[in-house]
Amino acid sequence: MRNVFLFLKRYSIFILFLVLQGLALSMLFSYNRFHQTTYGMFSSEVAGRVNKRVNNVESFFTLSEQNQALRKQNATLLSYLPSGAVIPGSAFQLVSDTVAVDSLKTYRQYQYFDAKIISNSVFLQQNIIVLHRGSAQGIVPNMAVVGTDGLIGTVISVSKNMSIVMSLLHRQSKVIAVLKKGSGLGEVSWDGKDPRYLLLSKIPTTIVAKKGDMVVSSPYSDKFPPGIPIGYVEKIDQDQETNTYKLKIRTAVDFYAVQHAYIVKNLLQEEMDQLKSTLNKE
């Protein structure tokens, strides 16, 4: 027994080192599996508050650009109004965000919450965006986040007033996408090299892809509304082994300057999940 105490006394600092190291590593490795840890909630509340203060100052310098982006989006939205339907704007694509159940009634499928981005990064390998909206405002993980120009990412963790978004610039982010012309299902990921470009893979070469083609979110996704721009084809490469394209695409959203976002709630999500769970039981 005495030897045990002697041992503990002699190596107390080394043991403390191992304990702290173990604590840090266990936090790190459990994080990817359980996003909703108490630490995650605490840290996003505290760091979020500091970030918000600084962001208040920063957003002042980009007011004019933000105004312009919002005005542009206003114009797009105004063109959807019934009164604007006399002369259809040819530049805009109609998005069906309603699900018709019978011919007289329509149901809204997607609800948009506006949110301010209080912290954003592009220089890391796992870039994360913090939004000033959380569970108190009805946000739950797995909701889609879109900007004024296109898709931004997915909510992965929420606290009371903040939510953490995995942006497209995250090494673990994978989004199903289609080419607007000619469709063809593919997968958008990021290679971690340049925050201005994403990779689109798994599109078969039977589909013709041209430089400048728009890449949009797929209609088969259950969280992203269909037809949200993701990027524009910049460079076309072919994977000889699988006969698929490896497309380098320029992001539709300027991740360096993004300030506002909309969180998209799929009102049919619950019903869809329920249907899928019955499939698993059988």
Binding site: I13, L23, L28, S43, V46, R171
Partner: protein
């Protein structure tokens, strides 16, 4: 100004620089990430107790993790350099470390060459562990080596600039 108060102010200042200045700079390359916050641990006074050093470093790492949104990643690297730091100082400092009291590692107190060695070893160690943990999640060997070299060079450059501009002259008694 009391030593504790001075270090708290320094901590807030260094974290502010790291999170709101360095992290906002558009990246030059995938490999180049300007890490600077860990210099706070390197600049703690010689007479900081080893237990206190470990706890302080853990706290510093956790605060950095809060802003980088990676719980434990930076804390693990910080605890590692805090554990190695006293051994390294004993090696580089000819006298007993306690003789120096409230002094902190700098070009004046350690001498230019030992201080340089001290910075290089701890910076490499910190980045090695940090990038190793990142590499376990994704990336290739080239990514690991490239990022380790590029990031360490940038960090050392930042520390050298900080040493030129910050007046850390502590009065010799």
């Amino acid at each position: 100004m009391s030593l504790v108060f001075k270090n708290i102010i320094r901590f807030i200042f260094i974290m502010f620089i790291q999170v709101f200045v360095l992290s906002k700079i558009p990246p030059l390359h995938q490999f180049v990430v300007p890490y600077f916050y860990f210099v706070f641990i390197l600049w703690l006074p010689f007479n900081t107790g080893r237990v206190a050093l470990l706890f302080i470093s853990f706290a510093v790492g956790m605060v950095a993790d809060m802003f980088f949104k990676t719980p434990g990643l930076h804390a693990a690297a910080c605890v590692l350099i805090a554990y190695v730091r006293p051994f390294l100082i004993n090696l580089l400092l000819p006298k007993e470390a306690t003789d120096w009291g409230n002094e902190e590692p700098s070009k004046k107190t350690l001498g230019a060459v030992p201080y340089g060695t001290y910075l290089v070893i701890l910076t490499l160690l910190h980045h090695f562990f940090l990038i190793l943990l990142e590499w376990m999640q994704f990336g290739s060997f080239l990514y690991f080596i490239g990022k380790l070299v590029a990031t360490s060079l940038v960090s050392l450059l930042l520390i050298a600039i900080a040493d030129l501009f910050l007046n850390r002259k502590s009065k010799l008694r």
